[in-house]
Symmetry: C2
Subunit: 340 residues, 2 copies
C-alpha cells in the first residue's frame, strides 16, 4: 500500500517480476483486499501466484516511528513484517515510511545478536564494480560505536552479496588528514584502526571516492549517507538530462545520438541505482524500496529481494558480530542506550 | 605556493587569466621569490603584470588551524591575507590548506558585523541556473544559529552574484516531513520559519534537490556540505567517463560520438564545477581554489575572483546581518561561543 503510487504500481510490478521467476516463488500481498483484488484482476494469471492478506489500515508516509509503533498493529506494514517473523515469508519489501518500517521491524524481528540499530544499505555502481554504502537513512544521529557496527554489517553484507572474501572498508570524512571531521568519526577511525576487529580497514575516504570505487564498503551516519546518496542520484540525473538536451540541440548532434543509441542505452542501464535497500542487522530480511519507484523499479526491487534471500548475508553478519562485544569491551566501550 | 601542484600550475594560470583581463588588473604573488621568478620567466610578458612578495615559509597541507595560527606569520598564505587587510589587494586566492586559510583570514580580517564563523560557498550548475550551496567545508560542527547565519550570508551572496532580488532558501535534510533530521536542523527550520528574518525560506530540501534547482540557496553544515559536494562531483565524473566508455565501445557508437562532438563539448563545459569558493562573512574577499586544480581551473578561479570583487556581496551580507541580532534576541538566542 506504500510509496507514492501504491497498488497501481506495486501489483503490475509483482506480475512483471514473477514472470521472470520460477513458479515456486509466491508473493504475499498485505493491504486492502478490495483495492488489491481490483488490480490483481487486471494482470492475467497473477491471482494464482499471489496470496492476499487483508489489512484494514496503513502507516501514513509522515507518521513518526513512535506513533507507528503505537498504532501499527494490523496495518499492512506491520503484517508484512509479522509474516516474516512467523516464517511465512523469506523477505519483506515495502515502499512506505522508512522510519516506521525500521521501528516496526526492530520491534517484531529484534536485532541480530548484540547489534543496537539497523542500517539501510545502498549499492552504488562504480567504475570498479559495486560500492556498499551505509547508513543511507535509518539513523540520523550516530556515535562512534554505531559507525563500527555499520562497518561490521556492511563488510559481511558485501562479502555475502558480492562474493568478495575480504572487502575493504573506508570511513566517510571531509578530508584524509587524521585531525579532520566530527569527534564521532575520529573516534570510530581510532577503533577501526586499533580495535582488533579483523576488518580490512583502509582509513578515511571522501565524497568523490564513493563512485571511484576506492573501497568496497563506505561507512557513514544516516544523515550524511542519505544526503550524499540523493545528491549523487540528482547529479547523475542532471548530467544525463543535460546530455540529452545537448545531443538534440542540433541536427548533427541528434544524428550522432541516433547512431550511438544502443551504447547510450547500455550506459543508462549501468547507471540505474538499485531500487531496493536492505535493512541490515535484523533477524529477518526487510528491504526498503524507493517511495517514488515506478513499475520497472519496483519489479527490479522484487528481484533484488529474491536474490538476497538466496545469499547468506545474515549468517555472515552474525559471524562478524560475535567478535564485536569482545573487541568493544577491550576498548572500554558499552553498547549504546536507547535506539528507535 | 599551495595546492597539489604549487607555482608550476599557479604561474601559467595567472598568465592565462591576465591575458583576458584589462591591463589595470595586477596580481600580487606571495611565496618563495626564486621559485616564483623561475616560473614567471617562462611566461612571456608576465613579469610586467605581477608583483612578487617574498615569503620564507608556507603553511603545510596537513597543519591544524591552531598550529597555522601560531606559526603562520610570514608564510605566503598569511601575507596574502594581510595584503588584503592592508588594502593592497581586493581579493585573496589560495589553493592551500582550507582550515588554515579560514583561521588566518578570521584572525587577520575579522568577521563582518556580528557573524561568528565564515562559510565556504559553492555554486552548482542546475537545470534552472545556479544553486548557491553552503557550508561546503569550513565548519564541521554547526548548531542552529550557525545554519541561520549561513542562510543570511548565502542569500546575500546569491543576490549580489546573480542579481536575483529575493533568492529562495532551503535547508538540507533527509526528508521533507517536519520531524526528520538532527535537532540542529529542526531548530534552524523553526527559526527560519518564525524568526522574523525576512528571508524567502521554502523549508526542507533533500540531496537531489541540489541539482534540480528547487531553491536558489541550500544551507547545511560543513561536514554534510563537503561530502555532498564531492559526492556530486564524483557522480558527474563517473557518468561522463561511463558515457565515454559506452560511446567508444563499438564503431557505430564512436561514429555517433564523433558527429556529436561539439554538442558533447558544450555539455562538458556546462557541467564543470566553478573552481573557486569564496569564504563568506569576513571583512574582505578570500577565495579557496580546489587543491587539485590544474592550469585551466586555476585561471578560471582568478576570473571568478575578479568578477566577485566587482559585485557588492560583502555589502549585501552586512545589510542582511544587521537584522540578525534583533531577530535572534527575539528568539532568546545568543551568538555561539568559540569558533575556529
Amino acid at each position: 500500500m506504500g510509496g507514492d503510487h501504491g497498488p497501481s504500481v506495486v501489483i503490475p510490478a509483482v506480475a512483471k517480476a514473477l514472470a521472470t521467476l520460477p513458479a515456486s516463488i509466491r508473493v504475499l500481498l498485505h493491504g486492502d483486499e478490495a483495492t488489491l483484488a481490483a488490480q490483481i484482476d487486471r494482470c492475467c494469471g497473477l491471482a494464482e501466484r499471489v496470496d492476499v492478506r487483508h489489512a484494514d489500515r496503513v502507516i501514513g508516509m509522515d507518521e513518526k516511528p513512535a506513533q507507528a509503533l503505537r498504532r501499527g498493529k494490523g496495518t499492512s506494514m506491520w503484517n508484512a513484517v509479522e509474516a516474516l517473523r512467523a516464517g511465512k515469508a523469506t523477505a519483506a519489501l515495502s515502499a512506505g515510511n522508512t522510519g516506521a518500517l525500521m521501528a516496526i521491524s526492530k520491534l517484531i524481528l529484534r536485532m541480530s545478536a548484540d547489534l543496537e540499530r539497523p542500517a539501510l544499505v545502498a549499492s552504488l555502481p562504480t567504475s570498479r564494480g559495486i560500492t556498499t554504502f551505509l547508513d543511507v537513512g535509518a539513523n540520523v544521529d550516530c556515535d562512534a560505536e554505531r559507525l563500527i557496527e555499520f562497518a561490521v554489517m556492511g563488510e559481511a553484507f558485501h562479502r555475502a552479496a558480492h562474493g568478495v572474501p575480504h572487502p575493504t572498508i573506508g570511513l566517510l570524512n571531509v578530508g584524509s588528514e587524521e585531525m579532520k571531521g566530527h569527534e564521532e568519526v575520529r573516534e570510530a577511525h581510532r577503533l577501526l584502526r586499533e580495535g582488533g576487529l579483523d576488518l580490512n580497514y583502509k582509513g578515511f575516504v571522501e565524497g568523490d571516492d564513493l563512485t571511484a570505487g576506492v573501497v568496497d564498503v563506505v561507512v557513514t551516519d544516516g544523515f550524511t549517507g542519505n544526503v550524499a546518496l540523493k545528491a549523487m542520484e540528482g547529479a547523475a540525473r542532471f548530467v544525463t538530462n543535460e546530455l540529452k538536451a545537448a545531443l538534440t540541440s542540433n541536427l548533427t548532434g541528434a544524428l550522432g545520438a541516433a547512431l550511438a543509441r544502443s551504447s547510450l542505452r547500455r550506459f543508462r542501464d549501468r547507471l540505474s541505482p538499485p531500487p531496493a535497500a536492505p535493512l541490515l542487522g535484523l533477524n529477518g530480511m526487510v528491504l526498503k524500496c524507493h517511495g517514488g519507484a515506478g513499475e520497472t523499479d519496483y519489479a527490479h526491487a522484487i528481484l533484488v529481494a529474491v536474490e538476497l534471500a538466496r545469499s547468506n548475508f545474515a549468517g555472515e553478519i552474525e559471524t562478524n558480530i560475535r567478535r564485536l562485544p569482545t573487541a568493544m569491551a577491550e576498548q572500554g566501550l558499552r553498547p549504546a542506550e536507547g535506539g528507535v
